[in-house]
Symmetry: C2
Subunit: 111 residues, 2 copies
């Protein structure tokens, strides 16, 4: 991701995208994050693909390849275990974001 910030959230972002979209391929995820963040955030493919492979290896995602317009697309979906883990990871990330928000916004401390 750009700006060297928020490393460690990539896996959670992938899982969340798949929870919302049910079925996505890698390149599509990079475009989705770019669009959702108004070009502010970028997932590099060099970070994304190894992360996806690890999620498959860990049993959280399954894949199915298709050829579309002469090019390969490798679709990813959440497994049952992946759906569970998605909830856990999202809650953990939300909690962390809240903590950081409090540190960044003193106004919230007295509100």
């Amino acid at each position: 991701m750009d700006n060297r910030i928020l490393k460690g959230s990539l896996t959670t972002i992938i899982l969340k995208l798949l929870e919302d979209n049910h079925r996505m391929y890698g390149y599509e995820m990079t475009k989705a994050v770019k669009e959702l963040s108004n070009e502010k955030m970028t997932i590099t493919e060099a970070a994304l693909y190894p992360a996806l492979h690890k999620l498959v290896e860990d049993g959280l995602l399954t894949t199915s390849s298709e050829i579309v317009d002469g090019r390969i697309r490798k679709y990813y979906s959440l497994t049952k275990e992946g759906k569970k883990e998605t909830q856990t990871k999202i809650e953990a990330l939300k909690s962390a974001l809240e903590s950081i928000q409090i540190i960044l916004n003193p106004d919230l401390r007295n509100g």
Copy 2:
């Protein structure tokens, strides 16, 4: 920090703490983050001290040591350059948090 999330935000958190408190020592920072986050977030000293040293090395912080109750305290403060960098880093982190919020909360997408 706990839970292997939000790596890369440590430096910004340090700078923000120093912006708010003007003068802090390392151990104090670990306590502050623990308290602000209601024990949800922990800065480990093994992550903190090298980060502080690097910020000094980069000219963003200065130090002054004192002996209090027979123990050494190494106080850190923002330099002029550090104050500038703090603004930049905070803005970048806020922007990243917003992007992640949008991805995590679909409700915000249609709001």
